[in-house]
Amino acid sequence: MLRYALKRGLSLTISLAVASLVIFFVIEIAPGDPASFMLGINAEPDTVAALRTELGLDQSKLQRYLGWVGGMLTGDFGMSYTYRTPVAEMITDRMWVSLPLAIYALTLSTLIAFPAGIYAAARRGKPGDMAVMGATQLGVAVPNFWFAMILVLIFAINLRWFGAGGFAGWDEGFGPAMKSLTLPAIALALPQAAILARVMRSALLDILGEDFMRTARAKGLTRRQALWRHGLRNAMIPVLTIIGLQFSFLLAGAIIIEQVFFLPGLGRLVFQAISARDLIVVESVVMLLVFAVISVNFLVDLAYALVDPRLRSRT
């Protein structure tokens, strides 16, 4: 198990190194000078020159790459050109919104999807299964921003249980902060839950046809016991894969939901940075997201090994 973890850890480090090279050189290869791109076509030549010095564009490529990576490793992500604040600070602020939102949404999605998927699989072909499958079909088809607007309409405007948008901030305490994240988390979670429930159901149905499920029944287990004791853990591999992908998506892909609820999250930051051509911010946030995605995959790999002993011995 330790060797498996070490091997996965090594591959994580290599992926990060490769990703940093790719991100750096894509921005490097992009036609034109980053400084004049950031300032737009009407910029004065001496402003461009000043920015070039500030960005360190007069250094060699290797020096700049090492400087950038070294900075990130020590927590120095550089200075945002548009906001004139350290990028690290901006990212930290946004992270405190995006990360809790992603975890909140993923928790909700899992809490909905697991029971729904198990319920449907246990009643394959019966009305309960069809109802769940119908609901998930709807969940997959309807975009999350539409859910978001419906939720705002019902819970914020009519019932007035929640605010229509904005983020209370963690200074106000845990309760109010979570409350302002609740509607966005639900809007994000519903489509994800629908996908996850379908994966859970089909993974379980595959397992139900396995020989060892029949063995379990021959031992005297009821259908339900066989499903819980032998089916669930075997069905976890595809489910974990999807959960990993969904977490990565929720972390960075919530732009529209953040827009609908006026949340100062990472998605909005990237969006604003791209619009303002603030390459320093874009570069750093993209690297951070890559880091998050790769780390999540690493955790998923470890979870695989916990679930399936065959992966532990096959290092």
Partner: protein, 530 residues
């Protein structure tokens, strides 16, 4: 006093009648073998007793275990019976265990689910059971996972689970079909000993009549969901009444007469063939190790010769076959077909002269192509494949040669039975008139009566086309009748090579002797069967 009494059991799924008025009984300590070909309903009879039928199945009649009619019990009551009063062992030991749970947990589960003991006692009992079925603690601690065990060892775990609560009745559904002969002999011995020890009734389902004759006290022969004949083993073997029973036993021991092989002239020459598989590295930068699956194997197959290759799973016979077909590279030595070296590079000339027939008649055809297209697939190896009339004439001729009709050419593969599919596979191999055909377990998946027909067909084709073939099989009785000479393979090496009759009548190598001794044999039936 009977333990299990099945009377007038009928079973239907939808409008399809699976079982019709089946009646027989099993006494305590008695071994009853239910036998028959695929589709005879023998497994469904077992699942009826277990109450593990599909939801849509409707059973009628009576299934008495002692004084309880199992058909009257509710699902919850049946859960209380399964594992406790009736244990079951399945055909596929490789998939019958949950891969993510330890063998100890899985054996203990049978005990715990019926709340028969405290967890600590259950652990002790599981340990004792695994010891009893031949899995001692030093090599097989309770924390082992199924993937760390071989097929035979897994079957022992399944047996330990089934007998954990000393059920009155044990049902074994083809328990040794997926195992090698030596392992099969051990598992059958174990089952026999357990029956005697616990005074259980054993209902064993098997298609292998040699196993039946060897093991059972009583035999039940089934066909198309009906009971054909039943009686004590001795009586039934020596006094068969029903023509189907006679046919079944005759087919199991089917002998063919091969034409005389011509004077030896080498066709396939394998010399010093080595095949290594890389193993995972021990450390991150350690030198990768190799597993040598084929160790400097040399032999020659002569033109017109029918050569057999036998050995147990993992002995390297499949690897060797793939190397001969040029599907895998060699790490040493060489293989030549009529002087032409065989490599993994595509060589249409070699493909045309050497064809193969695989084991699975269901998986080796594209279901979307018609038979004419399927059997003419090897034409792409010809520089000038026949077209038009010549093509359809050749298709007709080849189909007739394998005992099919010319209008079968326009059908799809799902319209044929397993035996017919294997005929089509042979037609596909035959159509380019190859000099050598490899039969890789080509009759292993077939019922005995169908297998007998295919063996006859091979003998006829030998006569008509002067076939040379390499017949790879784990089934010694088939190899004995269908080959002139035989190679015995063990752990990647050929340990014995001699004319087939010599191998069987006077085996030299200890491994060959063990193989032949382990293979169950049909007794000589003095009552001449049809």
């Amino acid at each position: 006093m009977t333990l299990l009494n099945i009377s007038n059991l009928s079973l239907r799924i939808g409008t399809f009648e699976i079982l019709k008025d089946v009646s027989f009984s099993v006494a305590p300590g008695e071994i009853v073998a239910v036998t028959g070909e695929s589709g005879s309903g023998k497994s469904m009879t077992a699942f009826s007793v277990m109450g593990l039928l599909p939801d849509t199945a409707e059973a009628s009649g009576a299934l008495y275990l002692e004084d309880q009619n199992l058909l009257d019990l509710s699902e919850a009551q049946m859960c209380g019976m399964r594992g406790k009063n009736i244990g079951m062992v399945f055909q596929e030991p490789m998939t019958a265990l949950n891969p993510v749970k330890t063998i100890g947990d899985q054996v203990m589960e049978t005990i715990l689910i019926h709340k028969a003991m405290s967890p600590d006692q259950a652990r002790d009992r599981a340990r004792a059971l695994l010891d009893r079925v031949g899995l001692p603690e030093d090599r097989f601690p309770l924390g082992r996972f199924p993937h760390e065990l071989s097929g035979g060892q897994r079957q022992r775990v399944v047996i330990a689970m089934a007998i954990a609560l000393r059920p009155k009745l044990l049902i074994a559904d083809e328990p040794t079909t997926a195992l090698d002969v030596t392992t099969q002999a051990q598992i059958l011995d174990l089952l026999r000993d357990l029956v005697r020890e616990f005074d259980m009734g054993l209902m064993i389902i098997t298609h292998d009549l040699a196993v039946v004759a060897d093991l059972a006290d009583r035999i039940v022969v089934m066909r198309h969901g009906e009971l054909v004949e039943t009686g004590s083993t001795q009586e039934l073997l020596h006094n068969m009444q029903h023509p189907y029973t006679k046919m079944l036993f005759a087919a199991s021991n089917h002998q063919v007469t091969l034409p005389q092989a011509p004077a030896p002239k080498p066709l396939l020459e394998v010399s010093g063939a080595i095949r290594d598989y890389p193993l995972p590295r021990d450390g991150l930068f350690a030198k990768p190790k190799h597993f040598r699956a084929v160790k400097e194997v040399s032999f020659t197959l002569y033109r017109g010769e029918r050569l057999g290759l036998v050995g147990e799973s993992g002995c390297g016979k499949s690897t060797l076959t793939r190397a001969i077909l040029g599907l895998e590279p060699l790490q040493g030595g060489d293989i030549r077909l009529d002087g032409l070296p065989i490599t993994t590079e595509q060589n249409p000339e070699i493909r045309r002269r050497m064809q193969v027939v695989f084991q699975d008649p269901f998986g080796s055809f594209n279901p979307r192509h018609r038979v004419d297209r399927l059997i003419t697939e090897p034409f792409h190896t010809l520089t000038d494949p026949p077209k038009g009339m010549a093509r359809s004439d050749l298709i007709t001729e080849t189909l007739r040669a394998v005992g099919l009709k010319s209008d079968d050419a326009q059908k799809y593969i799902h319209q044929f039975s397993g035996g017919q599919r294997q005929r089509i596979a042979i037609a596909r191999a035959l159509i380019t008139r190859p000099e050598l055909i490899l039969f890789d377990e080509a009759v292993s998946a077939l019922d005995v009566s169908v297998r007998a027909q295919i063996l006859d067909l091979l003998a006829e084709l030998c006569e008509a086309y002067g076939l040379s073939y390499l017949f790879i099989s784990h089934d010694l009785s088939v190899v004995r009748t269908i080959t002139d000479r035989c190679l015995v393979m063990q752990k990647g090496e050929i340990v014995e090579a001699a004319p087939t009759e010599e191998i069987f009548s006077a085996p030299q190598h200890p491994y060959t002797r063990a193989l032949i001794a382990a293979a169950p044999q049909l007794p000589d039936l003095n009552q001449g069967a049809a």
